[in-house]
């Protein structure tokens, strides 16, 4: 495979489930400092692409290169160690733990069995947890049991759990689902802030929100790329309009 400058370079990626190609010879390149949004109708294969990148699903063929490192051969935790973070569609946080503990557990030190037994919460760790917490608007909720957070706050917390690991590629699956208008605005601002110095890949349905954050939009349809470009050109693309409105 070719050497690329892209943070993420997906080439010829295919996955088939019993003959059904959920992702079909996909090519996708994401740059550093870029915030890419992937849109598409239900069943287009958006979430499957994220699953493939983070190792949840194994690809049938093709390659996924992250900083020129082949991800398809790595185990899930190794992909995370390489610098890829992924937020799930439904907020996935540890409801029994406090906001603080959720972030502490995600802190990228003491990741082995014995490392975690000997892990000490130093001032550095503590400062970092508080820094991330205020970044995700939860600075005042550190001691709250995370089950009691609102749906939107849970979404933020999960983003925070990824941010604390400082990933170079951040993947967010529907980050504003279930959020109020105000929360959406805050999230847009958050994403614009955190995409500096890293690449961010977002799946989203809310077009107003996409317009606010996207540098570039990729439209998926039946496992293939239908269109790619800035928001304006994608919205005016007749094929895209056909897919979204035609059926």
């Amino acid at each position: 495979m070719s050497y690329t400058d892209f943070t993420l370079a997906i080439e010829d990626l295919t996955v088939s489930f019993d003959g059904f190609k959920a992702v079909d010879s996909l090519n996708l390149y994401v740059d550093k400092d870029e915030l890419r949004v992937v849109i598409g109708p239900n069943g287009a294969g958006k979430t499957t692409v994220l699953d493939l990148i983070c190792g949840k699903t194994k690809s049938t063929s093709g390659s996924i290169k992250f900083k020129n490192k082949e991800l398809t051969e790595l185990a899930e935790h190794e992909i995370v160690h390489a610098g890829v973070g992924r937020k799930f569609q439904t907020p996935s946080i540890y409801e029994n733990l406090s906001v603080y503990d959720n972030l502490e557990v995600s802190y990228p030190k003491g990741r082995g069995v014995f490392g975690s037994l000997m892990f000490k919460n130093t001032e550095e760790v503590d400062a970092r947890i508080k820094e991330v917490a205020s970044e995700i608007f939860l600075g005042d909720f550190l001691d709250m049991e995370s089950a009691l957070l609102s749906h939107g706050q849970k979404q933020w917390l999960e983003i925070g759990m990824l941010l604390i690991q400082d990933p170079e590629l951040l993947m967010l699956d529907e980050p504003v689902a279930g959020m109020s208008v105000k929360e959406r605005e805050q999230t847009a601002e958050l994403l614009n802030r955190i995409c500096k110095g890293r690449s961010v890949l977002v799946i989203e349905h809310d077009m107003d929100f996409v317009e606010k954050i996207a540098h570039k939009v990729t439209v998926l349809h039946q496992g293939r790329i239908l269109a790619e470009g800035d928001m304006q050109s994608v919205q005016n693309n007749p094929e895209v309009i056909e897919v979204y409105l035609g059926h």
Binding site: H77, V80, H81, S92, E95, L97, V105, P108
Partner: protein, 389 residues
Amino acid sequence: MNFMYERILGGKNGAIGLAILAVLILIVLPLALDLFRLNLVGKYLTYAFAAVSLVLLWGYGGILSLGQGVFFGLGGYCMAMFLKLEASDPVTTKIQSTPGIPDFMDWNQLTELPWFWEPFNSFGFTILAVLLVPTIFAFIIGFSMFKRRVGGVYFAIITQIIALILTVLIVGQQGYTGGINGITDLKTIHGWDIRDDSSKYILYFINAFLLLAVVFASRFILTSKFGRLLMAMRDKEDRVRFSGYDVSNFKIFVFCFSAMISAIGGAMFTLQVGFMSPSFVGIVPSIEMVIYAAVGGRMSLIGVIYGTLLVNFGKTMFSETFPELWLYLMGALFIGVVMYFPNGLAGIWEKHGHKLVGCVKNMQCVSSIKTMIESKRTARLSAESASGK
């Protein structure tokens, strides 16, 4: 010092709970009970090792093992093998056709000691074996299951089947294991008679101290980041995996550790009760251990010890009077606890204990009840007058 207090004792509440437990099993029970009853408590406390192991594994880790009896039994058998060899010296066994080997081997026409029995002549090796044989066995099971992501009910069923297989194996290989009767007539450690009254006291205290040490070690694990990860894995395994942790390694570790704890209990059982048999290995004892943990509260290291004592006292009392009813009662107890008190005794204590403590402390119970009755009466009166209108 702070480390000791927070991490090992578990802060103020943990320290108080531990102190009460320590006073109970180290001072109150030895003074209050005769030797026969105390020996019985000692036996119960050996089961508590397995119950504590289930707090880590099941309570925090969410991994239900229905095979803790396997590790309890392996630990017990390792200890029993040493004691049996010492009890089978050529002089006492001279009437056998092959003197110097355990009696059951002689009955089964064995003419020499099997190779795997040889090292159990050494007490040092035996102690190592008690700790390591079950741990290595748990590692093999854990590695082959958790790496393949077998979990939940499948894991429970497989561990239960392993318990069954091991029982069948022990019973079937009579010449090597003593069969259904187990390994009996255990007498001395390097000439120190374990059946003496004084030895029974000493063994009881060794057992009690070991149990407290195991609680300390478990507390250390649960208050570390490892402990929080265990809970996190129980709730959202994928989130932990995609936060960069190799989940299976953590599960393997906690399974091995729980096996080692249970094995210590098994070895102490053999020493205090004086024999080991397949009936402490199989499905029934393994499930009973889960019941002790459920009744005591599977999230509480201390609660499960009380749970174990309580259920076993109940078992002894009821099975003396209504032997045929006990099993049904135990089943009903388990169902009842799971349905109505999912956190067991510890949960009840957490919910209502502080009221009790507060009452005893301030003697405000009476006045608080008075106020309560008073306010109820006013409420009723006003309701009556309202409806009267």
